[in-house]
Amino acid sequence: MSDDLQALRAETEAALAAAADLRALDAVRVGVLGKSGSLSGLLKGLGQVPAEQRKERGAALNRLKAEVEALLEARRTALEAEALDARLKAERVDVSLPPRPSAPGTAAEGGIHPISRTIEELTALFGAMGFRVVEGPDIESDWHNFGALNIPDHHPARQDHDTFYMPGTDPNGHRRVLRTQTSPLQIRTMLAEEPPIRIIAPGRTYRADHDATHSPMFHQVEGLVIDRGITLGHLKGCLVDFLRGFFGIADLPVRFRSSYFPFTEPSMEVDIGWNRKTGELGGGGDWLEILGSGMVHPKVLANCGLDPREWQGFAFGMGIERITMLKHGMPDLRPFYEADLRWLKHYASDPLAAASLHEGI
């Protein structure tokens, strides 16, 4: 770079360093790169340079122009940050001031999300049958989520779960996963307390599946009853009582089909009656699969230290979105998580009317 260019560069750098605000910065830019700026002048004068030097000189000038532009940009970013900092500093308020006496909105404008509402209703109904609510973490060990539930690593059921994995392992060397079901709460509860047990565990679950009918995050509710003398008949009775109460249809047809889940035996799928054409629940002669259930597998009891000769019971699990959509005739799963104000206002329930059996759910 020839001396005059180096000098120009040094001058510009000094001017930029001295520019204390954005206005001064702009003045520097105009002085160098503006129509009659110093560098623009040199570029214009390129035609007068002897032909043999023109190429080299031109390249040097363009290089310098790029450098100057970069310097300007860097300084602009710095000055903008300084200006923002200064502004933020000037905007300091006394955060200890008390808030206004009334809320910016009212209960009539607010609302409870349908999933929250369904969980409240589940709590009210199962609570009346003596169940308590338990909760657990979204990030689980694969022992809680699979191994303890009699789903060993090679089990075909594991493949169906589309598990999200997290890095690392827990203190026992088990892999960390985002729980694919709320069933780990069966394990946590049996390890934490002695029977008799009656719990439901509503919560978030995750599976790597995303389309019109699947969301990578959704909700399940798990149920577990452990006692002496609990039979499949009680499981059926409990579910029939719940389903008829939840859907508010006293004679809702409920059908039980033998099935298989690794953590229950015998296992059964549960269907409710509906009309496939109208979507109306109750009559109609068609059946809709709604939940899975069964008697807790002896291996699951033994994995948690319970002697299956002494204790037995049942477990069930169902999709909260699914029963919510059925109850309210909601056609699409995806908007549940989008927080679209219009959808929320349409489906929300009144915050002042909590779900309770005495007021009706």
């Binding site: 923002l84 933020l88 905007e91 300091r92 308020v93 006394d94 955060v95 001031l97 910016p104 909105g105 009212t106 209960a107 404008e109 607010g110 609302g111 409870i112 999300h113 999933i115 929250s116 609570g127 909760e135 979204d138 990030i139 303890a148 009699n150 090679h154 089990h155 075909p156 493949q159 999200f164 994995y165 997290m166 009656r198 978030r204 790597a208 990578p216 003398g229 039979t231 499949l232 008949g233 009680h234 059926k236 409990c238 039980f256 089909r257 033998s258 298989y260 002896p298 291996k299 994995n303 230290g305 002697d307 299956p308 000769r309 002494e310 998580y337 927080a339 104000l341 929320l344 929300a348």
Partner: protein
């Protein structure tokens, strides 16, 4: 899996209707996913011969036909098809028939003076494809008068079932037939196989080099075969269930997979290098070009079948392209092997190969069937392709599959809730293939058939490592005793359908249940309602979001980054629900709804914990109203939300302090932290940082808050004391202080309250003024103090003395002076 009704009837002697069969299957645990009854709509159509076709006397484009439907009379038919001709054989419909392709029910008609008493059909009119170029043209020997569906083999409903992972045996037509027979729908037909005589030594020998690769294998060659397309019945059957017929030899192996759940493979003897087929683990660097055209890089954990050149099959999963049979094959070698289900499952998953063979081997196949299946396959190959059979080559040995299980009949009631006669329980087990070893009034001991790998199996426990040793041992012993019985209870119950079990409501543990929620859970529910009652919409948003977005709101430790995110914008567990709600506010603004109030009770994720947080974001303006004009939301709204939650949740508000050190995602000058004591952080609130609003594209004002529900202590359950209801009227005095602009109002209020605790009942800030009437950097804070005398009315002097104390205390604490 799919199968056809006629295929099922080959194994099951039954007069049950299709409907009864499918209903029963679903009830006993083999869920029917669909039934395709292609023939139902075509049942009334018959094969007909055109006795004569002549030009219609009154229409250029029509013909007048005389048609024979095999019922001894002639029908007059008017037909527009260009191919209608004398002597042709086609398909006819009679009046009253519904024509699927047109949606019309046929009537007798008269077209331009000629009677039309029937209709000759095109393929499209029958709903069998798009061909409408003319009426169906059948071979001349098609039997006139026969139902077309019978002739075309369409009268065979296809049933599709979903088999649960425990029932490898039900992935076969015979297995399904056995279950149906046991459920009382007929009898399982015998399957007898006569051995095929060997005429020459086996050209290939098995060798099991590694017992992990294979348990037991049989093989046998058939030479002099003529391989080509398999017969129509076999092709039809495979096509009906969605398989592509390849050639007779390959079709036989697929047929066995579905008929008996017994996957087979056939090698072309000529293509095998050497005379030994080795069952071994793959070596580093080995590859397999598989039958599906893909090349798999094998690992040392994969079991292979290898010849002198290397792997020819991924054993039990998929065969190799190179040594398979084609039309030129003259000598084939049938492989009939037994593999370890776990190895098959892991190999299949490792390479993501889903085949019918893998599906069956990983669920477990009939462990004793190998010799019989090989004989039957040899027979079928010789029937279809001719040839002569070699001696059988064998390696490994039949595994020890024999085991027993005991059922105490009382357990059907005690576990299953069903009263069932012992005889019926025994009948059901026997029909499933269990054989009685011993039986008394109370129990039965049976031996388990070799195809029921799910009954009385030996799967290991996965007990919690922290269980006390004796507790773990006792539980394990109990499991070993109970599990096989549980298996049998399930078998007995399911065959009668679970609807037979009477429903019994759960007995009440106590007349009045305890609260279902813990105090902490109840607090979360209350927080949700408090926020919604302040005009916020309760939301549910994803727990994960894009890492860059998460980084705007807090730490993004690697341990909270998903290893296999479904999308790159859902790869990091969020540091706060405020992030999700701010994004939602931006989305709403982009739709034209910039004024939102969103709340969520959800998780905030830390490297070592998951926090329960009640969070909210307000954006834009408040609702417009004549009495309270719309204004931009500000940090005071967010603080109000956070305080409302804390107050509702029983936090003693007098003890709550505010500090100005909120997280980075807030505006540093307009945000704060609510604390109980110096350490416990209850909540944060404030205006969102302008950089965040810019990054997320939130056009207007945006504020947020987070309340840490885990940090809120459980309210003390003490009874309230007697209320303080003095008989003397309170006295109120106002004070206006001139203070530095940086003075904390809270500090000033606290100083005033503490000035004379016995008398001062309350202090509130009722005015704050900063402006040109005051010196630069100063602010006026006006408070109202309530004095509550208890013993007598206060004198002016006493009031004045308290006022002095207040002014002094405030001055000492904040430097503020009484405004003149």
């Amino acid at each position: 899996m799919k199968f056809t009704l006629s295929w099922l009837r080959e194994h099951l002697d039954t007069d049950a209707s299709l409907d009864r069969i499918t209903t029963t299957l679903s009830a006993i645990g083999i869920e029917v996913e669909g039934v395709e009854d292609r023939g139902a709509a075509l049942a009334s159509f018959r094969i007909a011969r055109v006795i004569e076709a002549v030009q219609h006397p009154n229409a250029d484009r029509l013909r007048a036909l005389r048609v024979d439907l095999g019922d001894g009379r002639e029908y007059s038919v008017v037909c527009g098809a260009p191919n209608a001709r004398t002597g042709m054989v086609g398909v006819a419909a009679l009046p009253g028939a519904f024509i699927p392709g047109t949606g019309i029910t046929l009537k007798v008609g008269e077209i331009r003076g000629v009677k039309s008493e029937a209709m000759m059909l095109s393929a499209r009119e029958m709903g069998l494809g798009d061909d409408h170029s003319g009426i169906v043209d059948l071979p001349a020997d098609a039997p006139v008068g026969t139902r077309y569906v019978d002739y075309a083999g369409l009268d065979d409903p296809i049933i599709e079932i979903k088999v649960t992972p425990n029932r490898g045996d039900a992935l076969s037509v015979r297995g399904i037939a056995r279950d149906l027979a046991a459920a009382g729908l007929g009898t399982l037909k015998p399957w007898d196989v006569a051995p095929v005589a060997a005429t020459y030594p086996a050209p290939l020998q098995w060798r099991i080099e590694d017992s992990r690769a294979c348990i037991w294998v049989l093989g046998r060659a058939v030479r002099g075969v003529k391989n080509g397309p398999s017969p129509k019945w076999l092709q039809d059957r495979l096509t009906a269930i969605g398989l592509r017929p390849i050639n007779a030899l390959v079709d036989v192996t697929n047929y066995f997979t579905y008929a008996y759940g017994r996957p087979l493979h056939v090698f072309d003897v000529k293509k095998v290098a050497g005379t030994t087929l080795s069952m071994r683990m793959a070596r580093p660097g080995e590859e397999l070009l598989a039958l599906n055209g893909k090349t798999y890089a094998l690992t040392e954990e994969d079991g292979v079948i290898a010849d002198a050149n290397g792997p020819e099959a991924l054993g039990g999963v998929i065969g190799g392209e190179h040594s398979g049979c084609d039309e030129a094959t003259t000598e084939c070698f049938i492989e009939c092997a037994l593999f370890d289900p776990v190895r098959i499952a892991l190999s299949g998953r490792r390479h993501d190969v889903r085949t019918d063979a893998r599906q069956r081997f990983e669920r477990g196949i009939d462990q004793a069937l190998l010799p019989k299946a090989l004989e039957a396959a040899t027979q079928m190959i010789m029937e279809l392709c001719g040839g002569e059979a070699s001696e059988v080559s064998e390696a490994g040995a039949e595994p020890k599959w024999r085991r027993q299980a005991t059922l105490r009949f009382a357990r059907i009631r005690e576990l299953g809730g069903l009263e069932l006669p012992a005889e019926e329980a025994e009948r059901r087990l026997t029909a499933l293939g269990f054989s009685t070893v011993s039986r008394d009034a109370a129990s039965i001991t049976v031996s388990v058939p070799p195809w029921r790998n799910d009954i009385a199996g030996h799967g290991a426990l996965a007990q919690d490592v922290s269980l006390p040793a004796d507790r773990a041992r006792k539980a394990a012993e109990g499991c070993a005793e109970i599990e096989p019985e549980c298996d049998l209870v399930e078998e007995v119950l399911r065959l009668g359908g679970l609807d037979a079990v009477p429903s019994v409501s759960l007995p009440l543990a106590s007349a009045l249940p305890r609260p279902a929620l813990t105090p902490k859970q109840a607090r979360a529910a209350l927080a949700r309602r408090v926020l919604a009652s302040r005009g916020m919409q309760d939301c549910v948003t994803y727990g994960f979001l894009a890492r860059e977005t998460a980084a705007l709101f807090g730490e993004t430790p690697d341990v909270l980054r998903l290893e296999n995110p479904i999308a790159s914008d859902l790869d990091q567990m969020r540091p706060t629900p405020v992030a999700s709600l701010a994004m939602a506010a931006a989305r709403n603004a982009a739709r034209g709804f910039g004024d939102v109030a969103l709340a969520e009770i959800g998780g905030a994720y830390r490297a070592d914990a998951q926090l329960a947080v009640a969070a909210g974001v307000r954006a834009g303006l408040t609702a417009p109203n004549w009495a309270a004009p719309a204004r931009a939301v500000d940090w005071l709204d967010a603080k109000g939300d956070a305080l409302a939650v804390l107050a509702a949740l029983g936090v003693p508000m007098a003890a709550v302090q505010v500090t100005a050190d909120a997280p980075r995602f807030y505006h540093p000058g307009r945000s704060g932290v609510l604390r109980q004591g110096p350490k416990v952080v209850l909540a944060t609130f404030g205006e969102l940082h302008p950089k965040i609003r810019a990054a997320l594209d939130i056009p207007g004002a945006a504020v947020g808050f987070e309340v840490f529900l885990d940090a809120i202590p459980e309210p003390k359950k003490r009874k309230k004391g007697v209320p303080d209801l003095p008989t003397f009227q309170p006295v109120r005095r106002d004070f206006a202080f001139l203070a530095d602009a940086a003075t904390s109002a809270e500090a000033l209020l606290r100083a005033a309250r503490g000035a004379e605790k016995a008398l001062i009942a309350d202090v509130v800030l009722f005015d704050r003024y900063a402006g040109d009437k005051l010196p630069e950097g100063k602010v006026s804070l006006a408070i109202q103090v309530t004095l509550q005398p208890r013993e007598r009315t206060l004198t002016d002097a006493e009031i004045e003395a308290v006022a002095q104390k207040i002014v002094a205390a405030v001055g000492k604490a904040t430097g503020a002076t009484l405004r003149g």
